[in-house]
């Protein structure tokens, strides 16, 4: 995407001037859409309250998807866009070969919405602790100095539209 590359270059220049580029897109769409992400250890989720307060999407880690989706769909029904974060196959060698799990089937065609996808990208320093990655996904920011990352793959198809 040339656009992205160009914009990135401009972004780098902003430290020297007053270019408004980094903030302009944010200001233009400052309101955004509120949502949240949850894992199974985050058990006290008030879907109805969130919805009433404007939340319109939720990202759910795939290993927790079935349990949580039941709660979520009771509240959101078809209104909710549910993103399912698939649990990636543990990747213990790096950088190659890369292996990935197949995209699992939707829970059922009647259940909400959009199908998400997986991934975790363990850093090279802790290749055998992928289980930690799974459980600690939302906490990656706190672990950042250790050079882990957790990536989420965008949905590639829709279950019910």
């Amino acid at each position: 995407m040339p656009f992205i590359k160009t914009a990135a270059s401009l972004l780098l220049a902003t430290g020297l001037g007053a270019t408004a580029l980094p903030s302009a897109p944010l200001e233009a769409r400052a309101s955004g859409v509120q949502g949240f992400d949850i894992s199974s250890y985050q058990s006290n989720v008030d879907f109805a309250g969130a919805y009433k307060d404007g939340a319109r999407f939720v990202m759910i880690k795939v290993s927790d998807f079935h349990t949580i989706l039941v709660q979520a769909t009771q509240v959101y029904e078809r209104e909710l866009t549910v993103y399912r974060l698939l649990k990636a196959q543990p990747i213990l060698t790096s950088p190659s070969p890369v292996t990935m799990t197949e995209h699992p089937k939707p829970v059922s065609s009647a259940e909400a919405t959009t199908l998400p996808i997986p991934i975790q990208v363990p850093g090279p320093n802790k290749q055998n602790t992928s289980s930690l990655m799974v459980e600690a996904g939302p906490m990656m920011a706190k672990l950042s100095p250790e050079c882990w990352t957790w990536s989420i793959i965008p949905p590639v198809r829709t279950v019910t539209g």
Partner: protein, 94 residues
């Protein structure tokens, strides 16, 4: 690190036609990738627990999602899609 992420992303892209989203903080990106600018095709999920975004990591003009809190009022972590609900749905459907 960047080679690994790229390898993974390319493999995923070859299977699905899309790149994965990338969840990171600006600090992590700087520390662990040297502020790589090679991942602009990967939608950015920026973790920054603050009232506003001060730094978008090098390589992205803006984030796709902003995880702005790890204590969302109704459970889990708070995220903001940087766009409209329609654009979110369009994004989700690929």
């Amino acid at each position: 690190m960047t080679a690994w992420v790229k390898d993974f992303g390319d493999a995923y892209n070859s299977k699905t036609g899309r790149y994965p989203m990338l969840y990171t903080t600006a600090d992590w990106w700087k520390t662990c990738t040297g502020n790589s600018e090679d991942f602009g095709d990967y939608p950015l999920v920026l973790a920054q627990y603050a009232s506003s975004i001060s730094t978008v990591p090098s390589g992205w003009p803006y984030q796709s999602f902003w995880q702005n809190s790890d204590s969302y009022s109704y459970g889990g972590d708070s995220d903001l899609w940087n766009g409209s609900e329609d654009s979110l749905k369009a994004f989700a459907k690929g």
